[in-house]
Assembly symmetry: D2
Amino acid sequence: MAGSTFGKIFKITTWGESHGKALGVVIDGCPAGLELSESDIQPFLNRRKPGQSEITTQRNESDEVELLSGVFEGKTTGTPISMIIKNEDHNSNAYDELKDVYRPGHADLTYDAKYGFRDHRGGGRSSGRETVARVCAGAVASKILAQLDIKVKAFTKSIGDVVLPEGEIDFSVQNIVNMPNSEYAEKAIELINEKRSEKDSVGGTIECIVDGCPAGLGEPVFDKLDANLTKAVMSIGSIKGVEIGSGFDASTSTGSLNNQEGAGGILGGISNGKQIKLTAAVKPTPSIAQEQQTTDKDGNDVSIEIHGRHDPVIVPRACVVVESMVAITLADALLENMSSRIDGIINFYK
Amino acid sequence: MAGSTFGKIFKITTWGESHGKALGVVIDGCPAGLELSESDIQPFLNRRKPGQSEITTQRNESDEVELLSGVFEGKTTGTPISMIIKNEDHNSNAYDELKDVYRPGHADLTYDAKYGFRDHRGGGRSSGRETVARVCAGAVASKILAQLDIKVKAFTKSIGDVVLPEGEIDFSVQNIVNMPNSEYAEKAIELINEKRSEKDSVGGTIECIVDGCPAGLGEPVFDKLDANLTKAVMSIGSIKGVEIGSGFDASTSTGSLNNQEGAGGILGGISNGKQIKLTAAVKPTPSIAQEQQTTDKDGNDVSIEIHGRHDPVIVPRACVVVESMVAITLADALLENMSSRIDGIINFYK
Amino acid sequence: MAGSTFGKIFKITTWGESHGKALGVVIDGCPAGLELSESDIQPFLNRRKPGQSEITTQRNESDEVELLSGVFEGKTTGTPISMIIKNEDHNSNAYDELKDVYRPGHADLTYDAKYGFRDHRGGGRSSGRETVARVCAGAVASKILAQLDIKVKAFTKSIGDVVLPEGEIDFSVQNIVNMPNSEYAEKAIELINEKRSEKDSVGGTIECIVDGCPAGLGEPVFDKLDANLTKAVMSIGSIKGVEIGSGFDASTSTGSLNNQEGAGGILGGISNGKQIKLTAAVKPTPSIAQEQQTTDKDGNDVSIEIHGRHDPVIVPRACVVVESMVAITLADALLENMSSRIDGIINFYK
Amino acid sequence: MAGSTFGKIFKITTWGESHGKALGVVIDGCPAGLELSESDIQPFLNRRKPGQSEITTQRNESDEVELLSGVFEGKTTGTPISMIIKNEDHNSNAYDELKDVYRPGHADLTYDAKYGFRDHRGGGRSSGRETVARVCAGAVASKILAQLDIKVKAFTKSIGDVVLPEGEIDFSVQNIVNMPNSEYAEKAIELINEKRSEKDSVGGTIECIVDGCPAGLGEPVFDKLDANLTKAVMSIGSIKGVEIGSGFDASTSTGSLNNQEGAGGILGGISNGKQIKLTAAVKPTPSIAQEQQTTDKDGNDVSIEIHGRHDPVIVPRACVVVESMVAITLADALLENMSSRIDGIINFYK
């Protein structure tokens, strides 16, 4: 247990379940003096909000954040920042029929195995809804990074086999799939609609880039920047793979080629001052309307159809979650790096 | 700083540099009563030892481990286990010419950026030699897992574009590339020799499977089993990507297909009792004998040729390192999971 | 920063300020399956509630706890338990005149020094009101301990020079000073009233005993049970000293005497199965109505009188806070100890 | 388990037993660029070395430290610093008769209870010899503090009832009891010799003062500076009580008096820029030559006489251990405090 805290100095602790009263996060270790209000957080939440287009779940949540502590007269005080988001759309009866059945691709079986029973309403703690808390923390981390002109940006790199080529990215383009190219976005939407009509779902990849990151962040040999970024992103539900720089392509490359291009902004686990690049693989939404074979909690084979309001693809809404986790990891690394050298420490206390 | 500790309950702290006096590890939190001697550790070290075949560095190290504490009359006492491996092959003069030059693909620039200067002899702390300490700890973790019949096994899945197909694995086959199939191994060796003759190097992938792991390991939502495994493996130098189960293939799959196959033994960040599968991408060795363009520490463009005894491929020797990090992560998760349920606790103290 | 988390496995994170919207705690790592509701928490809160007698502050707070997560159908789920207590009595104007003045014996100067500014309303985060969150967590920890028949009890041992002798304790006696003896309690109340009439305050000591604790808890050499208990209690505002067993008396004792009596239930940092005894020194309330000399934030000498509703003694209300911190520390030690031996682990997973 | 690590950023991990091959410490998180060699460490070790006078154990150890990593060309590199001290005086046969007997006041029973068996030679890990590793780390921490003109000093405040009054301290005075006053030192030595002739031992107190500490160190509400200092000191074997500032005297004082004098340099858990003062109570050496009643591991009552070379008082040699733990705690707090304010962070990275 005790796995709901992330970070060493900029430390977040999240709590809450899909159909409980509320969800939230406590940030401990946010520096004092940062201007902060709910209006800094809300735009991040809005980017992951359900019900925004025809390709997302129609669950209806206003997802309004409330700041409960750690801010006084518009500035952070250096004490823990507590934020809460109330759950509104409590129709948990829909889940009653799933109480004793293990949905394929979900954590139903594993939560029962670990804890002896589970809050079966909408996946409880294992629901993607948990990520609202991460996004609130990500907004604060991003604001810290912005003070140093560090910019984090995550976007949809591919949906199924619709892959946006490196050279075709135009960040001025906006659309419901978060893919910064109108032409590819259209193809992606087409694919999503096709899969939905087949009562199926589809996966994709998210790319996250960081500009303006100073050289020197990361703490070898275990808390390397790439190791911590990878953990941060892999801890998001539905992520099945993470790459830094050339990633799996490095495995088929040669030293002479890869040395020049493949680092992705990190060498030896420490940022090198260039653009950081991370890519994450997102699995297809496991909740699909087709009939599926599974087991119930007594081990019997059963078949289920999962009805209700499920995203046929998670990728577009997950971008802001990936971005948040990357921002949180960088903010933490930024603070930890301050004690790397004795001359920096002496200067600081002068 | 302070990034050289890994794990929460089974906690390892490593130390040492490529050309320092010695390297070592302290394991804090190893349960008492485990039979342990140097003969349990040495076989793991031997698997990563240099100089074993024509495709590895000819650096000559006996890599003998010495147990200094935590074991009494052949059993662990529950107190910290300190292990040390002395460095023998101290020819650090070879590195003098690299003192002010940043080798491409290495951590030379980033260590200077972070710490203000660096131990330039053989990469210092950023050298792959650091992993001897991980392997010592991995041997102990594996012995703990063996008490519960949990078996971890890592092998070479691909070298460059020579990819061993799923159905062709035969673990009785042994060879210098750690690829469990004679035919593919030969192809891989051919490719490696070709790259070496071109003064180049090549990458590959390592697959790690775990059999016998009980359901319930992993601590959501950040210390999920897959998140921790991924960090553990990504913290190894030269690893650029990690996948769990279907990994990046999930991004082009559909819910109906992926739900049945893709989990890789982990759902919602908790083991489900089936085989765990992790794949890691290894970059080509950055030290190559070709002339390369780079910069020196004053920012001037310079060209270098890196001579000496470098592996043309790291993959075969890295298998035991991946296996060790997976074993360490599982041992830690195993211990942490014991406090998941109140009934388990009551039983324990009865 | 990041100092608002306590514990390794049973891990609590508190947040909130004296005059903010609310205060709360997130418990991460509470075992699943524990029956828990607000009615388990409220009695603990009531024991520290202000306004209960003539010797406590008249601040009017209902201090009602609300459980927001981690409990489903009356049982803990193993996921984070979030609890919140709303602040009602928001008359923060009373503090406006203290905005630029550093109250003697308070943290006003030090918070300004550390964070650059502070929430001056009632001490903000440094207020004793912060302890409501500790008490909520203490109630949960106590319930875990109760499953194993471990009982923690803290009481007033002395007020000023009114010291309750060892042999005079009768736990059936209840009074407003939490001193388990009617005669001594009367003397203590008399002393408190005397000091209050002098616009002054008085200190005292709290003793905490633990019965039923199994042998074996505590993790040498730094996370010894006595070391962690002492930190837990010393982290409470107004505590200036902590003793285990014979404490400072040991310094004037001899080996032949102290060996038999002085351990206080802990030897070598590990519980020995006997009664644990801890004593804490509480300083006199720093807020007093007399005129006092101090400085303002520009360094000028000023004199102040602190009006308002302040306890002339903190000791009676602090007992439940000490008891809570002891219970939290023990619960954590109890869970961590489960991984001490390989045979215990093998049995557990059988 | 896993209790042998202390600190968050300046993090030490110790290992080793009384009669094992060696003892040591790994410091992870020491800033790069600090000049460091064995000659900085050795003087600290010499201060705790046995066999220096007639009042200490005659165990013969040269206690020479060897630096194994983390230092290059005379400066720390920012990577882990590993230090080792070999055990020389291995006469462990003397302990064979104590194998099955629990010495009163020692950890024999509790180690058996926790771990199932123990290294009985000289107390194994629970021996005071463990503190050599703390002292090595303390020397490094002190050197960091010295860069900022922070000075830590611990001395003998009392032996038995011989208490050095506040006004009689003269740090130019040196003697075998570490009491900075010749007259009182003589009385103390007389008392020690008296107790020794009675085959008994005696306790005492150690005072530790810190000058030059900047305001702002400490991380409320749990990692307060006083809380962490107290834990650090309480984790030393034989310490039974710790006070900050007025300590237990505060319990009999009044607000009007204590506000001005009692803080001991820390308010609200944060240093206030004045002298820090901590006092620790040391119990009498439990190993005494008199016959004592105890139990063996089968629960039988037995009587023992402990022969061999035991200090009749631990206080003088423990001073440097207390000083070390205080220095380590301050170094850690110093580094953590750097991230307290956003303006400090922006300045740092400019």
